[in-house]
């Protein structure tokens, strides 16, 4: 009986520290990989600028939230970043299309080799890199960072009622000697790890907050929506046809301009969603988005280039592998093993600094043993 509890604890630990993060991280990778695989399949090049496009989308949402907060408006329990998501999506799409018209279209007309597109996309990556850091800076900013107001600027009582006593604090500003109010908008949590432990009496538990739920729900709805779009609508089918056989698609009268336009529409929106969701969960830091390129590309190649289902699967696969391989299994082992065998030191295969190395390793293995990926996408 006690062993059963130990088993449960072990499982709960894994669920809280491994599976939940892997699911949320995987959702984000999957969304990013979907965009990249579409661009790969239809526009036929590796979109290195995707990470920074995600950063751009996240940045817009963040600016929106800061603007809202500036006027003393807090939207708890709804994360304000979510409200700005449509704006972020719109602006990111406009950015993507603008870049396409000014940069990529020329090379399409010239029928340049794919490597030129990649180089151009790297140039754009740097452009966006500098732009996002210029507009919002390179440091980490949380969506619910602490905001400071003068005492007259906000209705302290109303805010306290809305956000809870711990979120609103009045103090005296040392510099100006005036009263200021500091507001830290909380994240809505269904239950914390501690509440779970207290409720169940177990020594391990997991917590669930709104943002995690939204991430997964949003991701799944997008997957389903995209599936419906690609499989059941005329435009979606024409895009699949275009990706499959461009010459024949043109012969059938499919308009390449429209296909390109819709591709950027979808990819840009996906990037904005992925970027915003990740930012809501972990905070906005442009560099992190750039680093994501590697696992995203790994996900795309593992799943098969140009294959949307592959991208989704690849995203979750990479996320789970990254997290499970760099985890410290000491606690789990101690729950599962009998007392005398308990492990003292760490039981880690690889350190967490090597997370991205893991995705790359997977990438290499796939390239060596099965370059077309799980779903046999194009090798080119």
């Amino acid at each position: 009986m006690a062993y059963l509890t130990d088993l449960l604890n072990g499982f709960l630990w894994m669920f809280n520290f491994l599976m939940l993060p892997a699911i949320t991280y995987g959702s984000m990778l999957a969304l990013g990989a979907l965009g990249v695989t579409l661009i790969f399949g239809i526009l036929r090049f590796a979109h290195f600028a995707h990470g920074d496009m995600m950063a751009f989308g996240a940045m817009i949402s963040l600016i929106g939230v800061e603007l809202l907060n500036h006027f003393g408006i807090f939207t708890y329990p709804v994360p304000a970043g979510l409200l700005f998501l449509p704006v972020a999506m719109l602006l990111t799409v406009l950015l993507a299309i603008g870049l396409d018209q000014s940069v990529y279209r020329y090379y399409r007309r010239m029928k340049s080799p794919p490597v030129v597109f990649v180089m151009a996309s790297i140039g754009i990556m740097f452009l966006l890199n500098g732009l996002t850091r210029l507009i919002k800076g390179a440091e980490l900013s949380k969506f619910n960072a602490r905001r400071t107001f003068g005492i007259e600027e906000v209705d302290v009582a109303a805010l306290t009622e809305q956000l809870g006593k711990r979120a609103v604090r009045t103090r005296t500003d040392v510099a100006t000697e005036g009263e200021i109010v500091q507001v830290s908008e909380p994240e809505f949590v269904f239950f914390t790890v501690r509440q779970f432990k207290e409720a169940t009496g177990l020594s391990e538990g997991f917590g669930l907050d709104l943002i995690q739920l939204i991430m997964v729900a949003l991701a799944v709805s997008i997957f389903l929506g995209l599936y419906w779009f690609l499989r059941r609508t005329r435009t979606g089918k024409s895009m699949r046809a275009f990706s499959d056989n461009e010459d024949l698609a043109l012969l059938s009268g499919i308009d390449p301009q429209k296909v390109v336009f819709v591709t950027w529409l979808i990819a840009g929106s996906l990037a904005a969603v992925a970027g915003t969701m990740y930012g809501l969960d972990k905070g906005y830091k442009p560099f992190t988005y750039f680093q994501m390129i590697l696992p995203i590309f790994a996900a795309v190649i593992v799943g098969g280039i140009g294959n949307p289902q592959g991208a989704i699967l690849g995203g979750y696969l990479i996320a789970f592998t990254e997290i499970f391989i760099t985890a410290n299994y000491r606690k789990v082992a101690n729950y599962l093993l009998p007392e005398p065998l308990e492990v003292m030191g760490n039981l880690q295969l690889l350190g967490t600094e090597y997370k991205f190395g893991v995705s790359f390793l997977i990438l290499v293995l796939v390239l060596l043993f099965r370059p077309t990926g799980i779903f046999r996408g194009k090798v080119f």
Partner: protein, 461 residues
């Protein structure tokens, strides 16, 4: 006709350097010139890979870092030896050093034991790697690719766990002991630094051979992603494996091939302080120029040899060349290796110039990206173009920051003085303009002047 372009570009560069020297001082100008030329060495390497063979290497940074770490591994003193020598010196004059002497006496045997354990660990690692490879080879006809991959991974994982078991405690000892600055890592072989440059190139070439086996022969996009990934892994290794590289603590005090400014002030040179600084820099520059000239000459010979002609034929029409029986992939590998050699040497040169190895300084892709812009702007396929590109782009990159700051100050100072937060933040962020400007430069050159300043000298059909 073509010659005038060369004179024009080099002339313009000379003017830029001269103006910098006049406005900002000769020290700055010399520094610009030196790093510009070092970058030119790296651009030359990348140019070989891209201009001769059309290979997209997005992992330039990784190769350079390998060259840089070679400086550490070849030329820094072996820490355990330093410790012994240090102990002896202290024992000769032990007043007030009791604590230090005791620590050293304790640590030395622990360290030696740890080093032995490291040896054992690597032996285990080697055995499991050989085992995995052997089983993979033996089973290759009986099992499919996917299953063999799983078996290989399992063997390696088990081997890794045993390896860690020996390795981790040993590493902890290494990373916590030492003597003065020579501490917390294994150290190097204390050989001359110029040898380190060559070794650096060699190690980078070796890495290129390994990567080439994996990633060449696939589409250029794949090579880009693969090289990017390798480079990230290399940098991660260098940042985290403190026992090898001191990680984020950096390795300072790399030996220089020329006497330092301070040494020049003493016997037998007896130079003035100002002159000594200049002479030190000029001497270093001279060595770089020598190396660059040698590489340029070699590259020129290679380009105009039958080998070079074949490379270009392959690049221009890969299918036809393949049909004619030329082993395209092998040729690509040769170019990839040679180019990476230069990247490694360049990385070693850079580390030696700044006299330290700083893993955190390898900003992902920005480093790689700059070299790419140098190649494209200078003229891909043209060796001298790499030199022009290297100097010019480095100049722009360095000068863009003060220029942007100046511009932002001019535009924003009035607002910033008035306490406008936003204006002040923007002024702080002026350095970001560099990245933006570089991105624009690349895009503009790609679009409007794709052949670069000094286009490829030989005729293309």
């Amino acid at each position: 006709m073509a010659n005038s372009r060369y004179w024009l570009s080099f002339g313009m560069l000379a003017i830029l350097i001269a103006v910098t020297g006049w406005v900002q001082g000769w020290s700055v100008a010399l520094s610009l010139l030196t790093v510009g030329l070092i970058s030119a060495v790296m651009a030359l390497g990348l140019n070989m890979q891209w201009g001769y063979a059309g290979l997209f290497n997005a992992g330039v940074m990784g190769f350079s870092a390998i060259g840089a770490i070679a400086c550490v591994l070849v030329s820094m003193p072996w820490v355990t030896a330093s410790m012994s020598i240090g102990l002896e010196t202290l024992l000769q004059n032990p007043e007030g050093q009791q604590q230090a002497i005791e620590t050293l006496q304790q640590d030395l045997p622990r360290r030696i034991a740890a080093e032995q354990q490291i040896g054992v660990a690597w032996l285990i690692g080697a055995v499991s790697a050989v085992l995995a490879w052997g089983i993979n080879w033996a089973l290759r006809s009986r099992f499919s690719g996917g299953r063999r991959a799983i078996i290989v991974v399992l063997i390696l994982a088990v081997g890794l766990m045993f390896f860690q078991n020996r390795f981790d405690p040993a590493i902890r000892v290494i990373e916590s002991t030492g003597f003065g600055d020579d501490s917390k890592y294994l150290g190097g072989l204390q050989l001359p630094i110029l040898l380190a440059w060559i070794v650096g190139g060699g190690l980078a070439a070796l890495a290129a051979w390994v990567i080439g086996k994996i990633a060449l022969g696939l589409r250029s996009d794949y090579l880009a992603i693969a090289t990017l990934g390798i480079s990230e892994i290399v940098i991660a290794l260098l940042k985290n494996e403190g026992w090898l590289t001191r990680g984020v603590l950096n390795v300072t005090g790399l030996p220089s091939p020329v006497p330092s400014a301070k040494a020049l002030q003493l016997a037998p040179y007896h130079l003035e302080m100002g002159t000594s600084l200049i002479v030190n820099k000029v001497a270093f520059l001279a060595i770089i120029v020598l190396f660059l000239a040698a590489f340029l000459w070699l590259a020129h010979r290679a380009l105009h040899s039958p080998w070079g002609r074949m490379m270009r034929a392959i690049r221009d029409n890969e299918e036809a060349a393949g049909a004619m029986g030329k082993d395209v992939v092998m040729r690509h590998r040769q170019v990839f290796i040679c180019g990476s050699f230069l990247l490694g040497v360049g990385g070693a040169m850079l580390a030696t110039y700044v006299l330290q190895f700083e893993p955190a300084g390898y900003q992902p892709l920005r480093y790689t990206f700059l070299i790419w812009v140098m190649v494209i702007v200078g003229g891909s396929g043209n060796n001298l173009g790499s030199v022009v590109g290297g100097l010019l782009i480095w100049f722009v990159w360095i000068q863009a920051e003060p220029a942007a700051s100046w511009l932002f100050h001019v535009l924003g100072d009035q607002y910033a003085q008035g306490g406008n937060e936003w204006a002040r933040t923007m002024i702080d962020r002026a350095p970001q303009m560099r990245t933006l400007v570089m991105g624009m430069v690349l895009l503009l050159v790609l679009r409007f002047a794709p052949r670069g300043i000094l286009p490829e000298a030989l005729q293309r059909k």
